[in-house]
């Protein structure tokens, strides 16, 4: 029998892996993929609670979270491509127009 704690622990580990990726990588697209990992971890938590508590409203929330993730992917990659066109790099340590 599956238990709720297993799914929650799995999504916590997935979220932590995504955190490592966001904090350590320098390529903007890899950071982007790590953000997607963290979004998936949160969605997995919501679906696990929704399934184990017998309440389907959590799945509606995951559905809208998917919508926002799709919009974020489109706009985020457009921003990355625009930055690459201006700076010829996606290395976030070399994009320092607003730093001093």
């Amino acid at each position: 029998m599956l238990s709720l704690t297993w799914f929650l622990a799995l999504s916590a580990i997935l979220f932590a892996i995504g955190t490592i990726g966001v904090l350590t990588r320098k390529n903007a697209i890899v950071i982007f993929m790590s953000v997607e990992l963290m979004l998936n971890a949160v969605n997995l938590t919501l679906v696990a609670f929704s399934s184990f508590m017998g309440d389907i409203h959590g799945q509606i929330l995951v559905f809208f979270s998917l919508c926002v993730a799709a919009a974020e992917a489109a706009v985020g990659l457009a921003i990355v491509i625009a930055i690459f066109r201006n700076n010829l790099t996606v290395d976030i340590t070399k994009i320092k127009l607003l730093r001093w």
């Binding site: 998936n40 508590m53 625009a82």
Partner: protein, 169 residues
């Protein structure tokens, strides 16, 4: 150990292993392809949680849409010299400490939460219930999500097409 537990362990291993490859791989194409296995593993876990509609949506939106977008982004932005950074990672020690602390705190909070679990006797498919709810209780949110997607599409087109502004400096 029953079949569901074995399937859970297999899909959990696939998900976490390929997520680690996404984060730690030097090659960005390998990272993008192992992100596909992570997303498929999460979709399989949705099936184990009786969320059939969300599993199908996960496959369609993430694997079919977002992953293709990411691969296009990889192709458009990596021109040989950006494939391998000499130092692909920065701040490994503080980031590792922070994420391990986050994982431990999350697992502690989850395992000591005392969640009330409701035993559902009979599982049906969720498509009918989700559709009815989206068209009644969540109709306004549904429309707002559609407008959000439209705005995102227009914004992405405007940002990624080459504007005819003179950028001399």
């Amino acid at each position: 150990m029953d079949l569901a537990a074995i399937l859970f362990y297999v899909f959990a291993l696939v998900t976490i292993g390929s997520a680690a490859v996404v984060v730690f791989s030097r090659n960005i194409v390998h990272a993008a392809f192992s992100l596909m296995f992570t997303l498929m593993g999460v979709a399989a876990l949705y099936v184990l949680l009786y969320a059939d509609f969300l599993a199908a949506t996960q496959l369609l939106v993430y694997v079919g849409g977002i992953l293709i977008l990411i691969l296009f982004g990889v192709m458009l932005t990596s021109q040989g010299y950006t494939l391998n950074f000499r130092e692909a990672t920065v701040n490994v020690v503080p980031a590792g400490l922070l994420s391990v602390a986050a994982a431990i705190l999350l697992i502690y909070a989850f395992s000591t939460g005392g969640w009330v679990i409701t035993e559902v006797d009979e599982r049906t498919d969720t498509v009918y219930d989700l559709g009815m709810m989206l068209m009644t209780d969540y109709l306004l949110v549904f429309i707002v999500a559609g407008v959000l997607l439209l705005v995102a599409i227009i914004g992405a087109i405007v940002m990624s097409t080459r504007l005819s502004v003179n950028t001399e400096d």
